[in-house]
Amino acid sequence: MSSQIPAFIIVVPLLAALVVNIAGWARRSLCFPTAVCALAAAWISTIIVMLRVSREGDIIYRMAGWDPPWGISWHIDHLNALILILIATVALINIVATRSTAAQEFPDRLGIFYCLYLLFVTGVMGIVITGDVFNLYVLLEIASLSGYALLGMGGSRASVSSLNYLFMGTIGASLYLFGTGYLYIATGSLNMVDIASILPTLENISLIKVSFVLCLVGLFMKMAFFPLHTWLPNAYSHAPGPSASLIAPLTTKVMLYVMIRVALTIYQPDFAFSQMALQDIVVWLAVIAIISGSILAWKQDRLKRMLAYIIVVEVGYMAGGFWLGNQTGVTGAVLHIVNDAMMTLCLFLTAGAIASRINADAFKHLQGLFRRMPFTMTAFMVAALSIIGVPPTCGFFSKWYLLSGGIEAGHYEFTAALIISSLINVLLFFRVVEISYYEPFDNHQENEQQGIQEASLDMLLPLLATAGLLIVLGFYAHSLVTWIIEPAVSSLFTGSL
């Protein structure tokens, strides 16, 4: 039975989603507990899988008992296991943190909200764990569809921006499917490892190059990489609190994982980085993404829109870091996936807490927040320092790897962009701090007796736990890199799958 643990990661949330729907119609109170137990079980199994992978090496799980090229198989190495743990942690923290706001926001359809929540988590976990190219497309669609629904339920603008997100997302997913079609024509197989072994033997390289470009453009669209990011700010800023703080930290990061998996596992690093003359173009695109994202973030006057543009900047970090081509850059990108997911979760949870307490999002409503919501704002400060890259927090360490990767690879424009965007981040976040730290200068006393309107406890504890996690991740960044990321990256580069 113990060899079946990997299957629990996907099966348990899926079965839970079904049970929640069936039970939800009967008794509404059952939904939340089932969902939390399912996510907790999935979280535990991801940790067990991680331990097994670090002990016994990669796990190959044959679905329905068929060997890889014939049936679908999972190929779990260090990278998969790490991202799985990340997703499970983010989902678990978020479901516990947003219990009250979800009940407040979707009073009559809470059961279905948790079904969509669980299906989104199943889809995202499935994307990370699968070893089959077409199966990845199906799971991509599950995650996207539940994402469109969760994001579409916000204010008046939410359905328009969600429809826009649907169009862009579908074009992206279909381009990915079209790219895999090219691959299928050239190799005849759908299993990643099998394709990787057939590709070098083929002679017409131009077909493979076109398939790589198609897959990449599709993934860039899903990842909101700079020129194709227009859907992200609207989709995330008009979304309801609980769904934004679930989807924002996960979708873009998982798409980045898919890019890493496709580029390094299927197309092998020497093809992806050297034969395709893509490296300079993508790094320059990342530089433009970082600079213009930061400037656009500076021009926003609403908190969530600013955070959305910061996500676009972070995607620029990770994509640029990966396309530097050397091991330090890729290590930085992977570490930044982990750090940025936690940072974005912390930021969006604070935005959700503030919105639930003051139901306003514009900067001018955030006056005197440090006094009214001290703990939420301390968590916001920790996340802000982490995004800026101040040492004790985890953001510094991934930025360090990206910087040294940039210098090693000779892409000094990427290093300069990183520094400039960190400085703009300082301005961004300390503008919010200034607004919330300094009460309006005239009525200092009048604010005094308003007292503390702190967010409810069941939202505050997970929020503070996330903030604490950011600092713990900072201290254990080195062990995280040596034990998990280094072996993952080296196995990706040597292609010893």
Partner: protein, 492 residues
């Protein structure tokens, strides 16, 4: 000498952090102050307990975790670090006593927050003093700049907002914009960031990149307030006086200079800088700062701004000492950290006492105050003697070593700069004292209805004034430590 592995440095850093939860939970202000005192004494006791071991030539170290391959989050207590830690932990005791009087005198709001951030700032300062490599120092440097932001903007009014913005801009731009990339480059070149006796990069760098790297570090550590990046210091004077006393005279600015000193001596190393001839260049930068800031100080009417510009000048003495790359030059620089600290903190305490007692901030309104507040102005006089560098006070010893250092490095222009700036110091300090005491009855703006500052605000300046005199006669712990540190650096 094999280093002793002991947890003392970590406790020294953490003792003030540990007291923060107690401060927050303290009900009555007296309990809170008592705990702050306890923390201050505890920290000084731990730091002092390490003096004999270090004087015997050994170093204590404690490694917490590894941050990157080849860099650990490690604390190491050596002579130079201990000297700086001794000064700041002793003066924290004095300042916490002073801030009780000051805060109560002006009944400032949210004092608990003030004491907590003060404790955090101090633990960061000691952290910088005891850091074993450039990255640990950078981490504590960042924590210090973030924990002092709420202190600088304590009054939360419009002026505090703009000066806080300027304070953060200079420091964060310097640290993230210049120091971070420079550190990454050094890490890529040398594989580690640990401080090496003869200089980490000795010989592994050609002339031009070394210059760029050096300037990035020197102007990156903007807390050292070297001329182009000094503007945040006068702006930070908007903070309550104990903050500007301890932080902007002793802790924060000295941290900046300490980092520059470490980088010059232990990352680049005297040998390499000497071969490339960058010593005189650094001396020139320091000299420019000394002279220009002294001239500006002459024109400042607000007492605290005048003291601020004088601090900028004095800091560049220390950078000058480091840049001379000679034995007594460096020793003079190190000594000046201690001597200037005692002198300048007395001056800031007196300025605060005047504000508490009379509410007067500008020098032009201080004529004749000496008769009403003899003790404060007496301490002010001794403090200014020490900062000018005249014999009875400690400042003389450090300037004496600096002068010998300039001769050893045969840079006589620097000697001239040293003497000229001492004259300028006298020019902007002594008129204040003269006008306070020796004015005729009619000019005195203070009919004798005001009296001395309250006891808590009076005892600390007198204590530090006496201490700066004692330092002239018994400079022993600092002199020995600085000599030991210099032999370690030059000895290689």
């Amino acid at each position: 000498m094999i280093p002793i592995v002991s947890v003392k440095p970590l406790i020294a850093v953490l003792v003030s952090l540990a007291v923060i939860p107690v401060l927050i939970s303290a009900r009555k202000p007296n309990v809170r102050e008592a705990w702050t005192f306890a923390a201050a004494f505890g920290k000084f006791a731990i730091v002092a307990s390490m003096v004999p071991a270090v004087m015997a030539g050994r170093t204590l170290e404690f490694s917490i975790t590894t941050l990157f391959a080849g860099i650990a989050f490690k604390l190491e207590v050596d002579a130079f670090g201990l000297l700086f830690a001794l000064v700041s932990s002793f003066l924290w005791i004095v300042t916490s006593a002073y801030s009780i009087g000051y805060m109560r005198g002006l009944d400032e709001h949210s004092q608990t927050r003030y004491f907590c951030y003060f404790a955090a700032a101090l633990s960061a300062t000691i952290g910088v003093a005891f850091s074993a490599n450039l990255l640990t120092m950078y981490i504590f440097y960042e924590i210090l700049s973030l924990s002092t932001y709420p202190l600088v903007t304590h009054h939360q009014d419009r002026e505090a907002r703009s000066s806080g913005r300027r304070y953060l801009l200079y420091i964060m731009v310097g640290s993230i914009g210049l120091v971070l990339p420079a550190m990454v480059i050094v890490y890529l070149l040398a594989g580690t960031l640990d401080f090496a006796a003869g200089g980490l990069l000795a010989g592994s760098l050609s002339a031009v990149p070394a210059l760029f790297l050096l300037l990035m570090f020197v102007f990156g550590f903007s807390k050292a307030a070297i001329m182009p990046v000094h503007a945040w210091l006068p702006a930070a004077m908007v903070a309550p006086t104990p903050v500007s006393a301890l932080l902007h005279a002793v802790a924060v600015v000295k941290v900046g200079v300490f980092c520059v000193f470490r980088v010059i001596t232990e990352i680049f190393g005297p040998g390499m800088l000497h071969d490339f001839g960058y010593g005189p260049l650094l001396c020139a930068i320091a000299a420019v700062t000394i002279l220009v800031s002294s001239f500006i100080a002459l024109s400042q009417d607000n007492l605290k701004r005048r003291l601020a510009f004088s601090t900028i000048g004095q800091l560049s003495y220390i950078v000058l000492g480091a840049a001379l790359l000679t034995q007594s030059g460096m020793a003079g620089g190190m000594l000046h950290i201690a001597m200037h600290a005692f002198g300048k903190i007395t001056l800031f305490f007196c300025a605060g006492a005047i504000v508490v007692a009379t509410g007067v901030k500008n020098i032009s309104e201080m004529t004749g105050i000496g008769k009403q507040m003899p003790a404060t102005m007496g301490a002010f006089f001794i403090g200014s003697l020490s900062v000018i560098g005249l014999p009875p006070c400690g400042g003389f010893i450090s300037k004496w070593h600096l002068a010998i250092g300039t001769i050893e490095a045969d840079q006589l222009i620097m000697l001239a700069v040293l003497l000229l700036s001492s004259l300028l110091n006298a020019a902007y300090f002594l008129p204040v004292v003269y006008r306070a005491f020796f004015c005729t009855e009619s000019e005195s703006l203070f009919a004798n209805q005001i009296k001395e500052a309250p006891g808590w605000c009076l005892a600390p300046p007198v204590l530090t004034a006496v201490a700066s005199i004692l330092l002239f006669f018994y400079p022993q712990p600092f002199l020995g430590l600085s000599r030991l540190a210099v032999t370690r650096i030059l000895g290689g």
